[in-house]
Every structure is written in C-alpha cells, then in structure tokens.
C-alpha cells in the first residue's frame, strides 16, 4: 500500500510484540524465570495481578519490560472471563501490534523464539497457533495419553492487535479462553512450533493440591471434564523425554 502498510492496512514491518499475562501468587514458582525469559524476546509485557497475597506484584514490577501492571484488590478468579477481559483491556491501552498470551508457567522453545519476528512481520495471517506440551513430574518429560495431548492440536496464543475490531470472550467462570474467540474469524497460521508448560512439572503433592482445587471449584465438571480432572492422580502416566529442537532439525 502507498502508506507502507500491507493487506487491509496491516503492518508488515517493525511490529511491536507484547506479552500479556494474568498472575496470582506466583512469586515462589516459575514467574521470575518466565519474565526473565520473555524479557529476552518480547518488547513489552502487560500483567494483571489478581489480588496476590505474596510478592508477585513486586517481582513483576522489577522487570523493565513490564510496562503496565494492574493490581486487583479483590480476586476475579471465580469469573475468569472478566479477568481475561481486564487483561485484554490493559494490553490494548499500551498500543500493541501483536499480543502473546502467556501463562506464568509457560516457556517458548528456543527455536520458537527465534521465529517470532518472522511470524509477526507479515500481512497474510492474523493469528498464530503453537503446540503446548504439558511437562509432568519434571522439566525433562512431557505427558502424552488419552487426557493429556494438547500438543497434538494447535493452540492460538499469538494474535495481531486490530484496533477497533470486536473482541469478545465467552462468559466462562473457569477455563476461559485466553484470547477473544472472535479471532477465529481471521486467517491463522497453525505451526508445529512448541511451548513448554511447566504447570504440572512439580511434585505429586502440588498436583494433588491442584486436583483438590479443581474439584472444589468445579465438582460437577461444568467447566471441565471430570475424567480429565481424575487423570491428574494417575500414578503411572505415559511420559516422553523432551528433545530440544534447534534450527538444524528443520
């Protein structure tokens, strides 16, 4: 286009990449490592702290790339879609070009990080999906079975921000989508690029505590699958050793 923009006014070069994240009591877990990691490959970070009672907000604020930190006095955890909307609005206020929706226990594979600029500096598609691997019991193995196979299908975590577009979240109390579902209307790119999810990589006691929390929040399986919840306690899940990929593997 005459003004240097691409198809439909989309920016093809120099796009800013903003990570956005909602957190609650993450100070003693992976948050510091995740923020340090993100600081190495994104331009800005936006965080909503959902009424943490530990040092999470202070930890988040200590990172230079955290350009916006919203602190809730009262938790919205039981109305997760509202929390997602709040994070979205906070991110919008920073004039992003592309948004990467990250959880406080997710790490992008080195190879994936290396492709991100290429993925956002184009005008062909507006969403990018990755493969999310659930690490289990350690940071060396991921789980793969009937209930744990998220990595076998694409998961959208990276989207172009289109000012003025209609963004909406489904009103789900729990397990709300991390990005507005109205992005599904746009052309997207499904990749085999990988994300490591360490949410289940801790001890058996931690997993048991998560299971108990799910059962308390959703005892009838209204927002999730009861079989899936039960599989958290599986004593001998199928685990596969993680092999880090580099450019030469392509």
């Amino acid at each position: 286009m005459a003004n240097g923009l691409g198809k439909g006014g989309r920016k093809k070069t120099g796009n800013k990449l903003t990570a956005m994240m909602q957190v609650r009591n993450e100070a003693g877990r992976y948050l510091e490592a995740v923020l340090a990691d993100l600081s190495g490959f994104v331009d800005e970070i936006v965080i909503v702290d959902d009424a943490s009672t530990d040092d999470t907000p202070e930890l988040a604020a200590s990172f230079e790339k955290v350009v916006k930190l919203v602190r809730n006095k009262e938790s919205l955890f039981h109305k997760e879609w509202l929390l997602r909307e709040q994070l979205w609005r906070a991110a919008e206020e920073t004039s992003p070009d592309w948004l990467l929706a990250v959880d406080a226990d997710e790490f992008y594979e080195e190879y994936t990080k290396g492709t991100l600029r290429e993925l956002i500096n184009q005008d062909e598609y507006d969403t990018v999906s990755f493969r999310m691997y659930d690490f289990w019991d350690s940071v060396t193995h991921y789980r793969e079975d009937e209930w744990w196979n998220l990595h076998q299908r694409p998961m959208m975590t990276l989207v172009r921000y289109l000012p003025g577009y209609h963004y909406a979240y489904p009103k789900r109390a729990h397990h709300a989508t991390r990005l507005p579902f109205t992005y599904s209307a746009f052309p997207g790119l499904d990749t085999e690029l990988r994300i490591k999810h360490f949410g289940w990589a801790g001890s058996a006691e931690e997993r048991r505590a998560k299971y108990d929390r799910y059962m308390k929040l959703d005892p009838l399986g209204q927002w999730g699958n009861l079989g899936h919840y039960a599989s958290i306690l599986e004593p001998n899940p199928r685990l596969i050793r993680w092999q880090e990929r580099d450019r030469h593997d392509e």
Binding site: M1, A2, N3, L5, K7, G8, G9, R10, L162, P163, G164, Y165, H166, A168, P170, F181, T182, S184, A185, F186, P187
Partner: protein, 422 residues
C-alpha cells in the same frame, strides 16, 4: 391488525395524491404468470381473483378462468398500456413486459432458486430495476432489493400484517398512488416481528438449529434500513459472535463487513474504512481497501462513502451520494458500475461512452449492455444488431442472441397452463 387497516385507509383518504387521473375500474390489469394461470401460487391467485370481481383483469395465460380475460402474446399490443397495470411473475417476461411501458409495472417474483441460472438473475435484476413496485416472497431477495430501490415489499405468508402492507401497496400502485409510507411501516413492523421471534428463540435449547444467528443478522439489517444504526450495530455483533460460536465460515465477509456500512451511518468514516480492510480477502478486495485508504487520505470522502456502501451491497445509498458529483471522472466510473449492478442500464449508458472502455473485452461488454437496454426499450431489431456487432466473429460473444432466444421460448411456455417453465 384492525388499527393497521384503519391507518392505511385513513392515510390514503387524507394524504395520498393520485399520480394519474383516470377512472379506476376501466384501467385493466394484465398478469404475466409463471406457468399459466394455475401456475400462480394459490395465495397470490386468490388475491388476483378478488381483483377480477371489481376490475378488468387479463392474463397472458391459456388457462385463465372467467371472468379473467385470456390474452395471447400477439394480442399484447392491443392493450392501452398508458392506462394499464402489469403484474409480472417471472423474470423471463422482462423483454416483453418492460417495453410495453405500462402505467404501473409490478414485479411479483418467486424466490430465486438455490442455483439460479445467471440469465434469470440478470433478468430479475433488470425487471426489478424497471418496475414501479417489487413484491417478493423471499426475505433475502426483499432485503437485497431494498438496498437497490424504493417501493419494495415482502409478502412471504409468515406474518399476516406484513403481507397486508404488501397487498395494500400493490393495490395503491394499481390505483395510481405512491406507497412510501407503507414501506416504512412494513420495515418497522418486520423489525419488531423479527425481534419477537428472536426473543422466543433466545431460550430455546436448539437456537442454532432454528437459525437464531441468522435471525439476529436479519434484524440488524431491518434496524439499519429504518435508521436505527446503533441498535443495528449491537445486533450485528451478537449475530457475528453467535455464528463464530456455531463454527460458521466466511463470517468476516458475510456478516462482520456490514459493520462498515453501519459505521458510515453513525458518521464514523475512518472506522468504516478500517473495518472493511479487516474483512477484505483476495486481490480484488485488497485493492478496494487500498483505494479507500488513498481516497480517504486525499479527502475524497464522498467517494469513500459511496464505495463502502457499494461494497456492502447498498447500491441505493451509493448512487444517491454519487449522482450529485457525477461530473468527477472517478465518481462517474463508480456510478456507472453501480447502475449496472442495480440493473439500471439506461442510466449507466447515459453516463458512459463505449470508446472510454479500455479493453476490447470491456467494449464488447458495453455493447451487450447497449443491446439489452435497447431490447428493454422495445427496439428489438436494434438490440439484435448490437448483439451481433458485439459478437463479431467470436461465437462466445453471441450470448446476447442465445439468451434472447431462450427468453422468447420460456416466455411462450409461461403462458401455458399445467406446465412449469424451467
């Protein structure tokens, strides 16, 4: 219903101006059916038979019952068309009915078939463009026509009051009255009817199966038509969300794009251009998006608005914006395209010149248009000459001639009873 009837009658008595002064009963009504008299859908047939009790009714059908007078194709020229009304019920009549220049021409067409032949789609467009009044049983076609012209009514049998407006409009036109007030009444009534239907569907378990999302979209279009842009916007966005949740495809182009027309109505021109850009797909649409951005940057706001209305199929608003600025070459070019899409061939030809067509293909296409316009003026021989000269030695360019032969044949079949044309 009683209130509506009262309103219609009193309004007509007090305010309407008769367009032509002539004794009503003496003015004949000629029906061009869609497969003999008995091929007319029962609801419309009984309504026409009502007419026959108080007026002189003729039908170009070999099975019309008394007191309806049968009329052959050859006898058409014997009718005093300056006082006659024509009710045309199939697109294939266009080249016969339009040149007769009846005082009132009502297109009362069946809904387009799923995969209607291109020829009938063209004939339908031309017929509706030249008609005094359009009445249709298809809501989608009704809305399409409402974006192209005034005096369009829906008569789909789903809503008695709505049908009453359509019948009344037809009678008023036959009597020489205008129907603008009725159009607004029907649109508003239909919007409220849609709203009530949606409220019933909202809590139904199988809302998706019942077309809830489509109903929201239709309701949004009605609100747009009656000038309630903000309400229209809200409905459109809910419809869009619902369709995405149902996993529908092409929602950006088919649904979300309409937001750009609504944004124009709200006076948000830049938003409208941006919205169109988000929904553009494919080279042609990206070029439109780029052109809109350039025009906007160059201050050509009327062109931007007109093009956006056109890209949302609202040809009527687009043409209204361009007509006062048709001296500008870009505006004129756009207006010609819009007139062609509206089926207003004569208007298009008045504005354009064949020699301005850049490619040989464009010039041939222009000659086709000239030929069709001549045909609709009743200049059949000149039209044939035009089709032949467009074709020259290229067989594929003789389509105008082939189509004319098909139209002649189908029109003849449409006069015959107990036989479905097509």
């Amino acid at each position: 219903m009683v209130i509506v009837l009262f309103f219609i009658r009193s309004y007509k008595n007090q305010k309407m101006k008769r367009m032509v002064n002539a004794p009503m009963a003496a003015e004949p009504i000629v029906v061009f059916p869609s497969g003999g008299w008995h091929g007319i859908p029962p609801g419309q047939r009984s309504w026409l038979e009502e007419f026959a009790r108080k007026r002189r009714l003729l039908a170009v059908a070999d099975d019309a019952p008394a007191p309806i007078e049968q009329l052959s194709l050859e006898q058409l020229s014997s009718v005093e068309w300056t006082s006659a009304s024509a009710i045309v019920m199939h697109p294939a009549w266009v080249h016969i009915a339009v040149p007769l220049k009846p005082r009132c021409l009502i297109a009362m067409l069946p809904p387009p078939e799923q995969a209607e032949e291109a020829l009938w789609t063209k004939c339908r467009t031309w017929l509706c463009a030249y008609a005094t009044l359009v009445v249709t049983g298809s809501e989608a076609f009704y809305l399409e026509q409402s974006f192209r012209r005034g005096s369009v009514f829906l008569m789909d049998g789903l809503d008695e009051t709505s049908d009453l407006f359509a019948r009344q409009a037809a009678e008023w036109h036959i009597d020489g009255f205008e129907s603008d007030t009725l159009i607004r009444l029907q649109q508003r009534h239909r919007a409220n009817w849609r709203n009530e239907l949606l409220q019933k569907q909202e809590h139904a378990a199988d809302a998706a199966a019942n077309g809830y999302a489509d109903g929201l979209f239709y309701h949004s279009v009605y609100r747009y038509l009656i000038g309630e842009a903000e309400y229209s916007r809200k409905l459109l966005l809910i419809s869009f969300e619902q369709m995405l949740l149902e996993g529908r495809g092409n929602t950006l182009q088919n649904v979300y794009r309409f937001l750009s027309a609504i944004e124009l109505e709200l006076g948000h021109l830049q938003d409208a251009v941006r919205t169109y850009g988000y929904t553009a797909g494919g080279d042609a649409e990206w070029r439109y998006a780029e052109q809109l951005t350039k025009w906007l940057a160059g201050g050509k706001r009327e062109l931007v608005k007109a093009q956006l209305y056109r890209l949302n199929d609202d040809y009527r608003k687009a043409a209204a914006l361009l007509e006062p600025v048709a001296d500008d070459p870009e505006a004129r070019t756009l207006l010609i395209e819009i007139y062609i899409q509206m089926g207003r061939l004569h208007s298009a030809l008045t504005l354009g010149e064949a020699e301005h067509r850049q490619s040989a293909g464009d010039r041939r296409q222009w000659q086709h248009l000239q030929g069709t316009a001549l045909l609709l003026e009743g200049k059949r021989h000149e039209a044939i000459h035009c089709f032949l000269s467009a074709g020259e030695n290229r067989q594929e360019d003789l389509n105008g001639m082939i189509e004319l032969a098909v139209m002649d044949e189908v029109a003849r079949e449409l006069t015959r009873g107990n036989k479905e044309a097509n």
